[in-house]
């Protein structure tokens, strides 16, 4: 049985992080989202995968190649123009019989995947706190009646989780599916068509995590970090460093004297950490990073090749690749009135529902010395934030702020 994973989307609501990578390649605890799904699906017993790709597919292909590294077989299909989920799944027709479909940007647990594999056709459902953001599902004794569109007043808090088990019948429904009001061919419409004639099993999931906006990555990061184990064998750790709790450090990384690390924390390979820096819980640092003297990092995700080199504070933030913070640059992560922080993504102001949120910074950006980034600021790629400046709000890629 093959597993089709939808990995073609850009994930516009993840801007600026998705200008240079597809959503499924966003890292959670130093592994791309898609890889986490791959590992969980493999644990459930799936060995053959088809990745439906498109946006920046090269990154996916280069990272996963033919799947040998994970002992699985991976085939790629390019979706071409993004025409919707039904269209994406439809491209796999010639290559599958009974098959599982996963949305690559949602994290599923392996026991849930195993359950779905038992019955076909079936779809995964999950209970959430904010059903108004999703398509809700009407069921009747564990059989799907209909998947309803997103509505501000949902009649249930059970939503469509984005995992399916189909047989070849679904392709007939896909061929007959019309464009939805938002101009796409949606698999939910195909499923509704199928539900009229066939019994589709509804299976409740125990584990499910969706990431929509950049700060959701911090939640996912935190969740995964709860389960890591200590591992520091291939790193160089000097004297007079304190490492508490579960801290994983990659090979060839140096931890210099005076560094204080409180786990759970993951640090990648070839990093130089310290001297005299403070890394607090729920922080993930990528590879080839330099965290220098007098820096404090907390509850943040720092991607590869990025430098936080002198006297910086980074809290509740995400920093992309190849980005530099100048000496003394700091990020504010709390409002004075302690209310929820609002952030602007693509011009839309959103309540993040977090009391603490620092900055979301893209790739190849230079933050000048003593620059100040206000809470909830969203800084694009290739941006130049001048020395000593105060920046708030959303800054588009390729801008200069002085």
């Amino acid at each position: 049985m093959k597993c089709v994973i939808l990995a073609a989307g850009e994930g516009k609501r993840m801007h600026p992080l998705t200008y240079t990578r597809p959503k499924v390649m966003l890292p959670i605890a130093n592994k791309p989202l898609l890889e986490r799904n791959l590992i969980n699906a493999k644990s459930a017993g799936l060995k053959e995968f088809i990745f439906i790709v498109n946006y920046k597919s090269e990154m996916v292909r280069n990272h996963f190649e033919d799947g040998k590294k994970w002992n699985v077989k991976i085939q790629y299909l390019n979706q071409g123009e993004p025409k919707g989920t039904a269209h994406a799944i439809g491209t796999a027709e010639k290559f599958v019989d009974n098959f599982i479909v996963l949305c690559g940007d949602t994290i599923f647990g392996s026991s849930d995947i195993k359950n779905i594999m038992q019955k076909q056709p079936s779809i995964g459902l999950v209970k959430v706190e904010n059903p108004q953001e999703y398509g809700i599902v009407q069921t009747n004794s564990q059989k799907v009646v209909m998947i309803h569109e997103k509505t501000p007043e949902p009649f249930t808090d059970i939503i469509n989780a984005g995992i399916y088990h189909f047989n070849k019948q679904i392709f007939n429904n896909i061929k007959k599916t019309q464009k939805s009001p938002r101009g796409e061919y949606e698999i939910t419409d195909s499923i509704n068509m199928l539900a009229e004639k066939t019994k589709i099993q509804a299976i409740n999931l125990k584990q499910w995590r969706d990431v929509v906006y950049p700060w959701h990555l911090l939640d996912a990061n935190e969740e995964i970090l709860q389960n890591i184990k200590k591992h520091q064998t291939n790193a160089t750790i000097e004297k007079n460093t304190t490492i508490k709790g579960n801290v994983k450090i990659g090979k060839n990384t140096q931890i210099l004297s005076g560094t204080y690390i409180q786990g759970p924390v993951i640090i990648g390979e070839n990093c130089k950490i310290g001297p005299n820096c403070y890394i607090r819980p729920n922080t993930t640092i990528g590879s080839n990073c330099h965290i220098g003297n007098a820096c404090e990092i907390k509850n943040s995700i720092i991607m590869n090749n990025t430098n936080i080199p002198h006297q910086n504070y980074v809290g509740d933030s995400i920093i992309g690749e190849n980005t530099n913070l100048g000496a003394g640059a700091k990020i504010a992560n709390l409002r004075f009135d302690k209310k929820n922080i609002k952030a602007t993504i693509n011009g839309n102001k959103i309540d993040t529902k977090r009391k603490k949120l620092g900055a979301i910074i893209g790739d190849n950006t230079q933050i000048g010395i003593n620059a100040m980034l206000n809470n909830g600021s969203i800084i694009g790629n290739n941006v130049y934030v001048g020395p000593g400046s105060l920046t708030s709000g959303e800054i588009q890629p390729n801008s200069k702020i002085f």
Binding site: K56, S57, E58, Q75, Y76, L77, N78, G80
Partner: protein
């Protein structure tokens, strides 16, 4: 020039090939043909446009095939001369883009051996040569065959005995690999592929590629397998529309107010009085440059001549302008000589060859082009994009004006670097450039006047264009436009040169068009007009609104807004574009696809 496409995968090959050929039609459209392999090779060819081939194609099956649209270099336009060519045993089908210089000798040898030729083309030789060398492995046969020929090529070959593969090879003619999923492509350029995939591998000269539906393998010139990194094409090829205009050329002429803005965007600052290019260009310009060589072909060569006037005037640097096809025989080259190649498509074979020579001799190189990702941009140290959108009309219009504005910006920049001009001068030019779109709109609004003058030219046998100073290359370009699309013989001259020979050609039936700017050249060109009129022809002058003198000398005058004088040359050019357009239209010529011409000439 010729467009080629090869496909192997799960789709129906005839559909993919025809679709791709339509996108390649601008490269050459005398005739077209496809070969599809399904147990046996079936080949279909037609003269004329792709739609001819499409309509006459029977329903054929097959998931692997090659296709070609032809721009004749050897042999007339007829079905036999169209590609693909089949070998004598009919088991090999082959397409060739390029020129085989020693084909005659090879043909005679093969005929002696018993091979039967059906066409007059040089390309057919390759098909039989491959059959001759074939011993069960197509890529080996192709490699050996190619060693025997002298010339340039982009080749695609298929063999009935190996029904899964297509072999492609490149030398001085473009060829790219399109990477698909369960399918792969080979094409002369990217527009053919973009519908199916945006992941390409650029082949370099001497390389050979074997594709089947799941794999692509590339060999270097020593037959060693090499790995290449795919390039992702982010560029959205939008199907260019005529947007309500009767011809692409007319639409592109009307695009010019906006394309000027696009050339200037992000490069000029009125408040800071600066001209800034991208990092690579800035770095190239910081070299200790003592002279500049501009290399180009056709209309771009005339843009280069304008660049010479502008750069010499504003920076004092000596500039030579050379036809790319001649550069390799002459041309100054050293490390203090900046070589600027001007090529709209970035694929012009002559210009690419010259650019490579320049690079090899250590000169810093810069390309001015309209096509991102083109071969020229990958050879030169740096490039400036004219950002004018696709130009579909074969005769260049908006890309020419964009090129001369880029050259003006370069002239100003080098002038600043060499301390020949100050920021005040830059400021003055920036204000002029910002006003230019408005002045162009004004010129375009005077369309009716230009149309009326076109009426007087439509039956002329010969038209002469004269100008002085920077208006001399403007006249050369004006003449080129007229002959390209209306097929009337036209020639441009420096106004002062007429008396040294060409006067002999003047009669009352040879109209003369004079490009005039009221600067230091004015008095002399008025005198030249007097000399011309004395010999019979009607004179059509192009001068500014406030020139009252000219009416005493010219029979007709077309006008352009008086200021800014420094940019009048661009306004005159647009008048000449419209003039050529109307004359061609009145004569019923095929404006967007003139006879015998191709948009991008990739043979030497």
């Amino acid at each position: 020039m010729c467009g080629i496409i090869g496909y192997t995968g799960y789709r129906k090959a005839p559909d993919v090939l025809i679709d791709a050929l339509k996108k390649l039609e601008y490269r050459g459209y005398d005739s077209a043909g496809i070969s599809v392999l399904d147990k046996t090779i079936k080949t279909y060819k037609e003269i004329g446009e792709i739609t001819n081939l499409e309509q006459n194609l029977p329903k054929i099956k097959g998931n692997i095939g090659i296709g070609h649209t032809r721009w004749a270099t050897h042999g007339e336009v007829n079905k036999q001369n169209a590609h693909p060519h089949t070998s004598t045993n009919k088991k090999i089908s082959l397409i060739h883009n390029g020129i085989i210089e020693n084909y005659q000798t090879l043909k005679e040898n093969l005929q002696e051996k018993g091979y039967k030729f059906t066409s007059d083309t040089d390309s057919e030789v390759l098909a039989h040569l491959v059959e001759d060398e074939y011993q069960g492995n197509l890529e080996n046969a192709v490699t050996t065959a190619l060693k025997k020929i002298k010339g340039s090529y982009a080749v695609l070959a298929m063999s009935e005995d190996e029904p899964e593969k297509i072999v492609g090879a490149r030398k001085e003619s473009p060829l790219v690999v399109g990477l698909g999923d369960n399918e792969n492509f080979l094409a002369s350029d990217i527009p053919a592929l973009l519908k199916y995939t945006n992941r390409v591998l650029y082949l370099d000269d001497g390389e050979l590629c074997v594709i089947n539906k799941n794999q692509t393998t590339i060999y270097n010139q020593n037959q060693k397998e090499i790995k290449k990194q795919p390039t992702i094409i982010d560029w959205d090829i939008k199907d260019a529309e005529k947007s309500g205009f009767p011809h692409f050329m007319l639409k592109e002429i009307h695009d010019q107010p906006e394309t000027i803005n696009q050339v200037l965007r992000g490069r000029i600052s009125e408040i800071n009085r600066t001209i800034t290019f991208n990092e690579a260009v800035e770095k190239t310009l910081q070299n200790q440059i003592q002279s500049i060589n501009i290399i180009a072909c056709g209309t771009s060569y005339y843009a280069g001549l304008i660049g010479k006037y502008l750069i010499e005037q504003l920076s004092g640097l000596p500039v030579t302008v050379e036809l790319a096809s001649e550069y390799r025989f002459f041309g100054t080259r050293n490390e203090q000589s900046l070589v600027i190649a001007v090529t709209q498509s970035g694929e012009t074979a002559d210009t690419l060859a010259a650019l490579k020579e320049a690079k090899n001799s250590g000169s810093p190189t810069l390309v001015i082009t309209n096509v991102i990702g083109s071969t020229a941009t990958r050879i030169a140290d740096s490039y400036i994009l004219t950002q004018s959108g696709p130009e579909i009309g074969v005769a260049a219009t908006k890309t020419f004006t964009s090129q001369i504005i880029v050259l003006l910006l370069l002239a100003l920049k080098t002038g600043l670097i060499k301390d020949k001009i100050g920021s005040d001068e830059i400021y003055k030019y920036i204000l002029h450039l910002k006003e230019l779109p408005r002045q162009i709109r004004e010129v375009l609004a005077r369309n009716q006047d230009i149309f009326e003058i076109a009426q007087t030219l439509k039956n002329a046998q010969s038209v002469f264009f004269i100008g002085r100073g920077i208006n001399y290359p403007i006249s050369l370009e004006g003449a080129l436009k007229l002959k390209e699309i209306s097929y009337i013989h036209a020639e441009g001259f420096a106004a002062g040169e007429l008396k040294h020979g060409p006067f002999a050609l003047l009669t009352k039936d040879t109209p003369v068009i004079a490009a005039i700017t009221r600067d230091a050249t004015y008095d002399k060109i008025i005198a030249n007009i007097g000399e011309v009129k004395a010999r019979g022809p009607k004179v059509i002058a192009i001068s500014d609104d406030q020139d009252t003198e000219i009416e005493k000398y010219a029979d007709y005058t077309l006008r352009y807004p008086t200021n800014p004088k420094e940019l009048s040359f661009s306004l005159i050019t647009i008048i000449l574009q419209l003039l050529a357009y109307h004359v061609a239209d009145l004569r019923g010529c095929s404006i967007d696809k003139p006879r015998n011409l191709a948009k991008s000439v990739t043979v030497e």
